[in-house]
Amino acid sequence: MVNITIDGRKISVSEDLTILEAARENGIQIPTLCYNEALKPYGACRICLVELVSENGSKLVPSCTFPVSEGIVVRTDSEEVIKTRKMVLELLLADCPGSKVIKELAEEYGVKKSRFEEEDNNCILCGLCVRACDEIVGARAIHFVDRGYKMEVKPPFLTATVNCIKCGTCTTVCPTGAIKLDELSGISVMHQWSDKFSERRCNVCGSFHFSPGF
């Protein structure tokens, strides 16, 4: 156990937690976009930045990846944190003006309109879908392609892939609703990156699976 201070509250937490986990365990809210308890922390959205107060000058650290240690002092709502979070939200709002989640979160911080040119895109590249597909499903059907502002989530070779088992996990974890499931023939659903293959009955267990054939 280590003793830490978050927003003036002295708390004692297990030493293998991150700041975010410690805060949430103690009912302190920190907003996140690229974080999911079931996945390894990624540290990309920068919404969960908190201020790590120290004598040599404070700095902003992502609470989802930063481990707690004895005696650290953390502020989740300092002026610095709010200012930075607002600007990150303003950037996201311009990138994804159609996303409800971003809009609501931005509004919560008083960001109504972005000062940057709006784009038509809903994906914030938080990587939840990519990581879920890899870490939970194990299918690795999608990954990041290209870099910088050209980065996109795509299947290998940018074409529909048999690796996608159409489990829908990516759709579930996506915070902005950027990944659509297209309804096909009532029972089967299909991702934009799944190859055309149908639901088949497994000879062994008897249940139905999406597969090109066993």
Binding site: P41, G43, A44, C45, R46, L49, K59, L60, P62, T65, F66, P67, E80, K83, T84, M87, V88, L91, L92, A94, D95, R115, F116, E117, I124, L125, G127, F144, D146, R147, G148, Y149, K150, M151
Partner: protein
């Protein structure tokens, strides 16, 4: 060993090679054979001398005569005159500028005179592909000392005393870094040499690998012993074919000689070195991205902590240093940390290699003691600004460095001073800019580079840099709005504080430093729609001054779109609707009829 009367040290660094150095070598061999001098004159292909602008370079030893800008056709005459008849050829020697006296000896040339060589100690002196030549110059002696006479703690202590700081950019104390990695728990530890140099215009790491690869290997073996690592990697970008070839040969030879591998020199210490080729992403120079790349993953940075010293390559404690840092190590061990720490300033010890490029007379690589002023580098070594132009600013530290203006030209160069001035040491790029440079345009150029090179993982870097570029573009197009400067500053602050890795954290530097020192230029673009340096194409219009135009038709000939017309000996006409503002007419006009006041702003 065979003795020769004269050694011809022919520079075969990348710059000289692209200027035909290998063919010159062949001609030299043929001519020397022709005159039966093979047993008297030896040709030694060396690494880069640094004075790349004057290449191909040939230094004749023991006299130290410096031949420059050689052509294949010069060789027969040179060999006959100098090496056969003993009459040095004046016309192939260096003259600082037209009309001045020829300077025959290398060490009398201003460019070389002020340098202190530690990391580049063997440049231009030895054949980098021959391990014997390195050994003959005291090579691998420090390694022997470290392996047989020193404990790991003593090695670390010596490096700490030297005050050496990381030459890759951030300037973290090397001894401290080693100590942290040594203290990390774990049987398996790795060390890495970061040779993924990507800054535009900077090539010191390439030059060291090309000129003296064994110094890096020797430094790494010493570091490995200090840290307790038995496996190392050299991560070289694949765009450096010659560096890659020479470090590969060096590793092979060192293995053959028992200087790498199991039981080095019978000391019982094992160290294996592997070369990894980088795929060419700028961000892979960032240590966590570099390790991802070595592991075979996409080179994207990961959050720190955990730091590489705790959990690095494949989750094991890892120590990463830059090429130049490793190359300094053997000298520190040989001559002692005390000796090293006497060079430089209070906080920055030793020397630093800079690549001096841009609007400066002598471009090239220079190694100078820390604390030297920018003025000394630019004027004494660099020979000042060409064509009598005025100095405006110098960009230090590569694309994510800052621009330092003329007022600060007497700034001593060390880590703290540069940071205070809003720039960084970075890997040591120095881009000199003259009065014809638009600082908004410069900021836009560097930000565009970083926009392309951002890995795209975190929002502030991916999106923020892009938005900065958008704002800068609109300012240079004359579409800037009131409040744009403040928005840039606000955005820059966020990108600096909120980005995941060093690329994003330093990316706003060119914008912030140009706003800090050249705010009036930004304001001129935004408020008056004027580009004071006459660079931004959307803000200039070319016209001909009839009173000055002699009708020589030079401009008519170079105009690519036929916008300029007119008969000979009469003032020409320029059709603004056809003009693409390429500036070709401005460049060729000898009567200032399109120059200076001829360009006006709307």
């Amino acid at each position: 060993m065979k003795r020769y009367r004269t050694h011809l040290l022919l520079c075969t660094g990348t710059a000289c090679v692209s200027n035909n150095a290998f063919n010159i070598k062949k001609s030299l061999e043929i001519e020397i054979k022709k005159h039966n001098l093979e047993n008297e004159v030896l040709i030694v292909p060396t690494g880069c001398n640094g004075f790349c602008e004057r290449g191909p370079i040939l230094v004749v030893q023991p006299d130290g005569i410096f031949y420059q800008q050689l052509k294949e056709s010069d060789i027969p005459y040179l060999v006959e005159e100098h090496f056969l008849k003993g009459r040095p050829v004046k016309k192939l020697m260096y003259t600082p500028s037209k009309g001045e006296e020829v300077i025959p000896k290398m060490m009398d040339i201003e460019f070389f005179k002020h340098q202190i060589l530690i990391a580049l100690r063997n440049r231009g002196r030895i054949d980098p592909e021959e391990i014997e030549e390195y050994i003959a110059n005291d090579g691998y002696q420090s390694m022997g000392k470290a392996l047989f006479e020193m404990t790991p703690e003593e090695i670390i202590n010596e490096v700490k005393i030297s005050g050496l700081r990381g030459r890759g950019g951030a300037g973290f104390p090397t001894g401290r870094k080693w100590e942290l990695c040594r203290a990390s728990k774990g049987d398996v530890k790795y060390i890495i040499c970061n040779a993924d140099e990507g800054d535009p215009g900077a090539y010191m790491d390439r030059s060291i690998l090309e000129a003296d690869p064994h110094s890096v290997i020797e430094g790494m073996v010493i570091g490995a012993k200090a840290i307790g690592a038995h496996k190392g990697f050299v991560y070289v970008r694949d765009e450096y074919p010659l560096a890659l070839k020479r470090i590969s040969i060096a590793v092979e030879k060192a293995k053959d000689y028992g200087l790498l591998g199991e039981d080095i020199l019978g000391s019982g210490f094992d160290f294996d070195l592997k070369i990894v080729r980088g795929g060419g992403a700028f961000v892979c120079g960032e240590e966590t991205a570099l390790m991802q790349s070595i592991e075979g993953k996409v080179g994207r940075p990961t959050p720190r902590p955990p730091y590489p010293a705790q959990k690095g390559l494949w989750g094991k404690p890892t120590n990463i240093n830059n090429v130049e840092t490793w190359a300094n190590i053997p000298v520190i061990i040989a001559r002692g940390g005390d000796w090293f720490s006497r060079i430089g300033t209070e906080t920055s010890k030793g020397t630093k290699v800079f690549s001096l490029v841009g609007k400066v007379n002598n471009t090239g690589l220079v190694e100078v003691p820390m604390g030297i002023t920018l003025r000394e580098i630019i004027y004494n070594i660099g020979g000042g600004i060409p064509n009598g132009k005025k100095f405006k600013a110098v960009q230090t530290g590569g694309p994510s460095g800052g621009c330092i203006p003329e007022e600060l030209i007497d700034l001593p160069v060390d880590y703290e001073q540069l940071t205070k001035a809003g720039a960084i040491m970075g890997s040591g790029g120095l881009i000199v800019m003259d009065e014809d440079t638009c600082m908004v345009d410069v900021a836009k150029y560097f930000v565009s580079f970083l926009e392309d090179e951002s890995c795209g993982k975190c929002v502030p870097c991916r999106s923020g840099i892009r938005r900065m570029r958008e704002i800068l573009t609109r300012i240079t197009q004359g579409k800037g709005k009131e409040g744009d400067i403040e928005l840039l500053e606000e955005l820059a602050e966020t990108i600096k504080k909120a980005s995941l890795c060093g690329l994003g954290q330093t990316a706003p530097n060119p914008v912030l430093s140009t706003i800090r020192y050249f705010r009036d230029e930004y304001e001129a673009h935004i408020k008056k729609k004027r580009c004071p340096a006459l660079v931004c194409k959307d803000l200039i219009i070319y016209r001909i001054i009839p009173e000055k135009c002699t009708g020589c038709r030079r401009c008519v000939q170079v105009c690519p779109t036929g916008a300029i017309t007119g008969p000979k000996a009469q003032p020409h006409n320029l059709d603004a609707s056809k003009c693409i503002k390429c500036g070709a007419c401005y460049e060729v006009c000898r009567f200032d009829a399109i120059a200076g006041d001829a360009i006006y702003m709307e």
